[in-house]
């Protein structure tokens, strides 16, 4: 099976989708001729023509707004917002329009669009290239929110998102584009070619939205996480010797609650881990659900580990990022808690 980086697998997902369905169109800032600042759409314009892959003006509201109109017509736009940090001008279109169109028109009009956005930090991008705004989407009725953690999932989930009848926010952890990242920023970068989930089928395959994956089975504690932090959690379990079960949610909405509750019922302890800021983050929702559904199995309080409630800093990136030291410390405290 071919090996791909996450950039290549995302590109492959769009390529396969455009090849199968001529209603799939791809556009965004720098997306056409050049192929995107992260190269995810490289070659698509050359292969499918300017009518199906093209450059857009620097107007996120315009990109999302036109995509909603195209979807109402019958196309399936898969659009790129260059960085998730830039999506705010489009937020009204996403929240008030894309998310509600099926509902408010009673299915007369629908909005099958995918909005791809590179998300998260770890690249010294500062406050405008590092944010993780997923909770701003999971709070909105009518949206689905996907965060892949590896090339295999990214392709299968993106194809499923493009084929989904409803709007999907597809957040791509940019630190994972070229290799898994376990938070040890001072160590050499590992490429995806050395990771089993860098093996990606060439052709069409879809992973269901709403199904989590267990990345590491364990019996002592459950770590519920997604995106970049999946790799940090796996590394910390390895390094501390704490037998943690690592759940990669893959999709935040719809959420695979069954996998979460089965795991916490088994382990009796739970950490919720994400890169986004703590307060009102998606982790708060996860912690509440674990408490509501697994209260009598819990042997320790549910613990959240997340980014600090500050703007994403530049020089202080590694003090901000919930890396192996913080995750490890929290994990030990959860195990000591009685």
């Amino acid at each position: 099976m071919p090996r791909m980086t996450m950039i290549e697998s995302i590109r492959s997902a769009m390529d396969v989708s455009m090849g199968r369905d001529e209603n799939v169109v791809v556009y965004g800032e720098d997306v056409g001729f050049f192929g995107g600042v992260f190269r995810c759409t490289h070659g698509l314009q050359q292969k499918y023509g300017v009518n199906r892959c093209f450059d857009a003006p620097i107007s996120e509201a315009g990109i999302v707004g036109t995509a909603i109109g195209m979807a109402a017509y019958g196309l399936r736009p898969c659009i790129e917002i260059q960085f998730a940090d830039y999506m705010y001008p489009a937020y009204d279109q996403i929240v008030s329009e894309a998310a509600r169109l099926r509902y408010r028109s009673n299915g007369d009009f629908t909005c099958p669009i995918v909005i791809r956005m590179p998300t998260g930090g770890g690249i010294f991008g500062g406050q405008t290239h590092s944010q993780s705004p997923e909770a701003l989407f999971t709070h909105v009725a009518g949206l689905k929110t996907v965060v892949p953690s590896n090339p295999y999932d990214a392709k299968g989930l993106l194809i499923a998102a493009i084929e989904d009848p409803d709007p999907v926010i597809f957040l791509e952890p940019k630190r994972l584009y070229n290799g898994p990242f376990d938070g040890h920023h001072d160590r050499p970068v590992t490429p995806w070619s050395k990771h089993e989930l860098g093996e990606v089928p060439e052709g069409h395959f879809a992973l269901p939205l709403g199904k989590a994956a267990i990345r590491r089975e364990g019996s002592a504690v459950t770590i519920i996480t997604y995106g970049t932090m999946v790799h940090v959690a796996e590394a910390v379990a390895q390094e501390t010797g704490i037998d943690a079960e690592v759940i990669d949610l893959r999709t935040l909405v719809p959420l695979d609650l069954d996998t979460i509750t089965a795991s916490v019922a088994k382990t009796g302890r739970c950490m919720v881990l994400h890169e986004a800021t703590l307060t009102s983050g998606f982790g708060a929702e996860l912690a509440a659900l674990v408490q509501e559904n697994c209260f009598y199995h819990l042997e320790a309080p549910v613990r959240r580990v997340a980014g600090w409630d500050t703007p994403y800093p530049h020089a202080q990136e590694w003090a901000y990022f919930p890396g192996p030291a913080r995750v490890g410390q929290a994990l030990r405290e959860i195990m000591e808690s009685r």
């Binding site: 169109v25 009518n51 199906r52 857009a56 003006p57 107007s59 509201a61 315009g62 707004g65 036109t66 995509a67 909603i68 109109g69 195209m70 109402a72 017509y73 019958g74 196309l75 001008p89 009204d92 279109q93 008030s96 329009e97 509600r100 169109l101 099926r102 509902y103 408010r104 028109s105 009673n106 299915g107 007369d108 009009f109 629908t110 009725a141 009518g142 689905k144 009848p165 409803d166 709403g210 909405v253 719809p254 959420l255 609650l257």
Partner: protein
Amino acid sequence: MTDTPLRFHVPQPASRPGEQPDFSHVVIPKAGSVERPPVDVDPKDIRDLAYSIIRVLDREGQAVGPWVPDLSPDDLIRGLRHMMTLRSFDARMQMAQRQGKTSFYMQHTGEEAVSCAFRIALSDGDMNFPTYRQAGLLIAHEYPLVDMMCQIYSNGRDPLKGRQLPVMYSSKESGFFSISGNLTTQFVQAVGWAMASAIKGDTKIAAAWVGDGSTAESDFHAALVFASTYKAPVVLNVVNNQWAISTFQGIARGGSGTFAARGLGFGIPALRVDGNDYLAVYAAAQWAIERARRNLGPTLVEYVTYRAGAHSTSDDPSAYRPKQESDGWPLGDPLLRLKEHLIAIGAWSEERHTQTQAEILETVIAAQKEAESFGTLHSGGKPSARDMFEGVYAELPPHLRRQRQQLGV
């Protein structure tokens, strides 16, 4: 460097409550005086059209000048009936709201010609992205009045299952995109719809709608950029009814002179039209629609009209503009003007008008009775609470299933 203190400028309307209405700032050219360029004209050669007003009906009720459209007396009688139906519909629904049968209503008084005439210029399959004051697009497409009323009543037959505020209709079949209620969002969506039609090599075009006040939203700018860049087959309609709730149009317009002129910087040809002149609206719409269909790109059309009534049932205009301002509006009433024209050409009479008015009222009352037999907002049939959870997604996800179970429906 001078010592002159800087001055902050807040535009003010010409008159306020208690003062005499003053429309001296609305310069009205003579009917028939504005040229009609060919549709493939270079936009830079017709910049003056963004600052004038295309008018067809003169003070004697005659249709004059190069913009006289090819509409038969029967077409015009049909148009008059549409406008009369809309006005009658408005009156009944306004009253129904006052009677507590629904929560909210928005009338079209004075603006009926804009949506009624525009609809006639479109073809089946074209798509409007309307605001809340274009119900004429539905009425002129013979959409059932009963269905509109059921939506307003949020009753058991509401096509939108009680999910939307009254008047936020949706009908794909009638080329009427779901009304959001948020402003200007749909303007750029219309451009996207038009881009899709062009991408697919289709023949259908889109029409975007916005009010004078909402042109200030950044989505308006985005729409003009995308429409201009991709030469989208779309007609960009700005209905300038002078008032955005209590805010006069000068607050959104600023120093640009006219809303039509907003198109010029984008290379989009712009027309400014008498919005109370059914024939002029139709003629301008037809010109813009033909441009779109012939791959000549977008056109911006400003309809100069006047919101004779309140913004909505929640509004009282006497608090911010002279009570008799509407009487001073220099472009008159669209229904009366078309009626006078039809009488002037011998196709209509006072008797036929009175008779038609009675007929229409009867039709509207019958529709209202039928709609009310399916319930009103607070009595009779209504959509089930179970419906509330449907349609958020194509398939009910587990968390909504759990919430529906909690509510016990």
